[in-house]
């Protein structure tokens, strides 16, 4: 079943075209890896899907369908609740861990009794962070380590009960152990969510993604099963990038 | 939807400053300008001020304002620049951190306190050592010079800090001393900011009222020396507004209009020079 379907997507910042006629489908409960060198349009793709690009005054044409609905007909706050985005550098909001976790849910509705605490417990557990922070929820979130902060950001997104989780190079600033923890989390969560993982670490895509898309200079060069992309890509540029000839 | 309403509301609020400025302009001009037309420019710019008998000349006050302002700049510019250069180029971060708020504190002291210090210390000092009444252009110049220091210091300091460090390093690299670098490179590079600071300081000096009333003597004549008593535009406003009626009050507003025009002009020049967006 197709979760997100993108057709003929073009995106411009002023005169610069960041995405050129992109069409691709993302299956439900799979992890799509997106690889490519810097400025290839990977981040722009994510920012287009939850319409964060509108804040950058970007112009956009084409269609993006989420579960048979055009995303431009979905109220923007709903869309962003359903499609979460994790940034490259973990950004915790000023205030406690608890405040970080409750910020998103509280934007969308009111909670009674322990309902909110339950959501926070579930989200932190799912992000493999509960054990480490359960006694210090009132502590400032900035006292967490970098890896913990990134998992907090993931938990913060999970607390919104999203359908699609997009990650923009979520491990670029992290050590291998923290990276492994986050990859394990993604694996576990795949049953419930659909992932789009932008990464400039091709090995990470090879490890976790079901499908991989290769972007270059705003174009989608090819998209296929991860195995196929990494063993026998159709396009020589894909091959060159994976082998480290450029990028 | 609430986002749209909030934006409209904020836009409305955001115009409060410019709206206030327009209101001020409107009411002061509306009260004052008609009188200028009624009595004519030659009466208005004469030296004879006897507003209850139909003489509305503000020339001696204009000259008075210019004299104390010039005097204030003579005191304020060298000290202001010295402080700014010392802070920005010759002191370590901890010294900067201590000195800057101290100098800024000068701006927080109420003008009536400056005037008071003028009365109890400066005026008697001038009277004893230089002669004259003590209440004088000199006293007003010195006090105003101190009062405009923080303006000149903080704007010049910011301008010096804004000069990229690569300039300094380039200059040291060819063997220039710090002082040579300051004179030949940094001051010219920070020129526009420094000039803006001086212009804003000038605006403060022209507009200052309470301190000047207390120490300038307020005699209605053109002063002939630094030791003579002097009356400025602002002093006249503050001294006479309390009891003025009819044409006399209108004349004060005319005087205020003139002062306001000068200040706005100085502000516009300073804003243009710094070229802030």
């Amino acid at each position: 079943m197709i979760k997100v379907s993108i057709k003929n997507l073009n995106l411009f910042y002023n005169k610069v075209q960041a995405l050129k006629n992109i069409s691709l489908d993302i299956e439900k409960n799979e992890i799509l890896g997106v690889i490519g060198p810097a400025n290839s349009g990977k981040s722009s793709l994510l920012r287009a899907i939850n319409r964060l690009s509108e804040n950058d005054y970007a112009r956009l044409s084409g269609t993006i369908i989420l579960d048979d609905t055009d995303i431009f007909t979905i109220p923007i706050n709903d869309l962003r609740r359903r499609v979460g985005l994790i940034f490259a550098t973990p950004v915790v909001l000023p205030g406690s861990i608890h405040k970080n976790m409750s910020y998103g849910p509280k934007l969308h509705r009111r909670f009674k009794g322990s309902e909110l605490d339950e959501i926070i417990f579930n989200a932190l557990s799912a992000a493999n962070l509960w054990k480490e922070v359960k006694d210090r929820l009132k502590d400032s979130a900035s006292t967490l380590s970098g890896g913990q902060q990134q998992r907090l950001c993931i938990a913060r997104t999970l607390a919104m009960d999203p359908e699609v989780i997009m990650m923009d190079e979520p491990c670029s600033g992290l050590d291998p152990i923290s990276t492994a923890k986050i990859e394990a989390t993604m694996f576990e969560l795949k049953e419930k969510y659909t992932f789009i993982l932008v990464t400039n670490n091709t090995k990470q895509a090879a490890r976790v993604a079901n499908k991989t898309a290769f972007f270059l200079a705003g174009e989608l060069i090819e998209i296929d099963k991860t195995e196929k992309i990494f063993t026998n890509p159709a396009d020589s540029r894909t091959d060159g990038y994976i082998r480290g000839k450029f990028g | 939807m609430k986002d749209k309403i909030a934006e409209k509301l904020l836009l409305f609020i955001a115009f409060s400053a410019i709206l206030s400025l327009l209101l001020i302009t409107f009411f002061i001009f509306q009260q004052g300008i008609p009188l200028i037309f009624k009595v004519g420019l030659s009466n208005f710019f004469s030296t004879h001020w006897a507003p209850t008998r139909g003489n509305f000349g503000i020339l001696s006050m204009i000259i008075g304002s210019l004299m104390v302002t010039a005097g204030a700049l003579v005191v304020g510019i060298p000290f202001g620049l010295a402080c700014a250069i010392f802070l920005a180029e010759f002191s370590s971060p901890p010294i900067q951190k201590t000195l800057k708020p101290i100098i800024e504190l000068l701006a927080g002291i109420p003008s009536v306190v400056y005037g008071f210090i003028g009365i109890v210390i400066l005026v008697p000092f001038i009277r004893e050592h230089f002669g004259g009444p003590g209440f004088s252009v000199l006293a007003a110049s010195i006090i105003l010079g101190i009062m405009i220091l923080p303006t000149i210091v903080s704007i010049s300091y910011d301008a010096l800090l804004a000069v990229p460090n690569t300039y300094r390093e380039g200059s040291y690299a060819v063997g220039a001393t710090k002082w040579q670098t300051v004179v030949m490179l940094l001051l010219p590079a920070a020129r526009s900011g420094i000039v803006a600071g001086i212009i804003l300081g000038m605006g403060r000096a022209i507009g200052e009222t309470m301190a000047v009333i207390m120490i300038a003597g307020n005699a209605l004549k053109i002063p002939h020396s630094m030791l003579d008593s002097v009356r400025t535009l602002t002093s006249t406003l503050a001294l006479e507004l309390g009891y003025a009626t009819g044409d006399h009050r209108a004349a004060l507003f005319a005087c205020g209009s003139f002062l306001f025009l000068i200040i706005i002009l100085l502000n516009i020049i300073a804003i243009k020079i710094t070229g802030r967006k």
């Binding site: 997104t157 | 400053a17 000068l106 200040i263």
Partner: protein
């Protein structure tokens, strides 16, 4: 024979002169404060602070002026804070350069340079006479509010600009609208900076004379309503000193005034530093 000074000697001379001039400036400040304190601290007493003013200020205390200053300042802050903060939010969050930004900025810059006597004239003709509010706490408060709006705008603007852009992105990505983001992330984060602006505004209002003397008046009674005329501390001090009513009382009043100003500046400085250390 020509006598030449080498660049190193030159540097030492220049340095000494700059140091001397800076020291003189600092000494002048400490002298002013010290001189007032030396002559005023001895006159201070609880009685002076809590007693009515008698015989035009020759006798008694300064309670009416303390109350007057308090009410006029509070009034000004209540009016000016929402306007100043709102303007700054609009400037930073809603305009991207452009004509509107320039107009609003120009208004704030110009208003900041207007001398207080002009505010006094304006407040007198507009609030006191045209709006028929008379010499009153309201007229004085409104006049001061107009005067301190630019201070609050500028400080708040700097504080809001210092909030990292990523905080806003996070809020948007979690489904927050622009208003949610401003109210729940931007303003709470920049609160110390905003408070600094408000406190500096309080400082300006407390020390102001020319703008309040023609709008709040100089009545010595205890204010009973917002329409009461009142005499602020600065005005009271001015009248005591200029009319030579009582030097000891003048020194004591000046001491109170300076203590308030020192306190205000100290708090503002501490707040700003804590805030800037975090985000710059």
């Amino acid at each position: 024979m020509t006598f030449r000074i080498g660049p190193r000697t030159n540097q030492i001379i220049a340095y000494s002169i700059l140091l001397l001039m800076t020291l003189i400036t600092v000494v002048v400040l400490f002298f002013i404060i010290g001189y007032v304190f030396k002559n005023g601290i001895g006159q201070l007493s609880l009685e002076f602070l809590t007693d009515k003013t008698r015989d035009m200020g020759k006798e008694g205390g300064i309670l009416p002026s303390i109350l007057g200053t308090f009410f006029v300042t509070i009034f000004a802050i209540i009016i000016a804070t929402p306007l100043g903060v709102g303007s700054a939010v609009y400037l930073v969050e809603y305009t991207k350069g452009g004509l509107i930004h320039r107009i609003i900025s120009f208004g704030a810059d110009c208003l900041a340079g207007v001398p207080s006597i002009i505010f006094g004239l304006f407040g007198f003709i507009f609030f006191v006479i045209k709006l028929n509010l008379g010499w009153s706490i309201i007229s004085g408060g409104l006049t001061l509010a107009v005067m301190i709006i630019p201070t609050i705008i500028r400080t708040t603007e700097e504080a809001i600009k210092a909030v990292p852009h990523s905080f806003r992105e996070i809020s948007y990505s979690l489904g927050g609208g622009k208003l949610d983001t401003i109210l729940k992330v931007v303003l709470p984060t920049s609160l110390p900076g905003i408070l600094t602006g408000v406190i500096l505004g309080i400082g300006r209002a407390v020390g102001e004379t020319a703008a309040v003397i023609f709008t709040a008046g100089s009545s010595l009674g205890i204010p009973t309503s917002a329409f009461s005329s009142t005499r602020t501390l600065a005005v009271h001090f001015y009248i005591l000193a200029r009319e030579g009513i009582s030097m000891p009382k003048a020194y004591a009043t000046a001491t109170v005034l300076i203590i308030i100003i020192l306190l205000v500046n100290f708090i503002a400085y501490r707040l700003m530093h804590r805030f800037m250390a975090k985000y710059y």
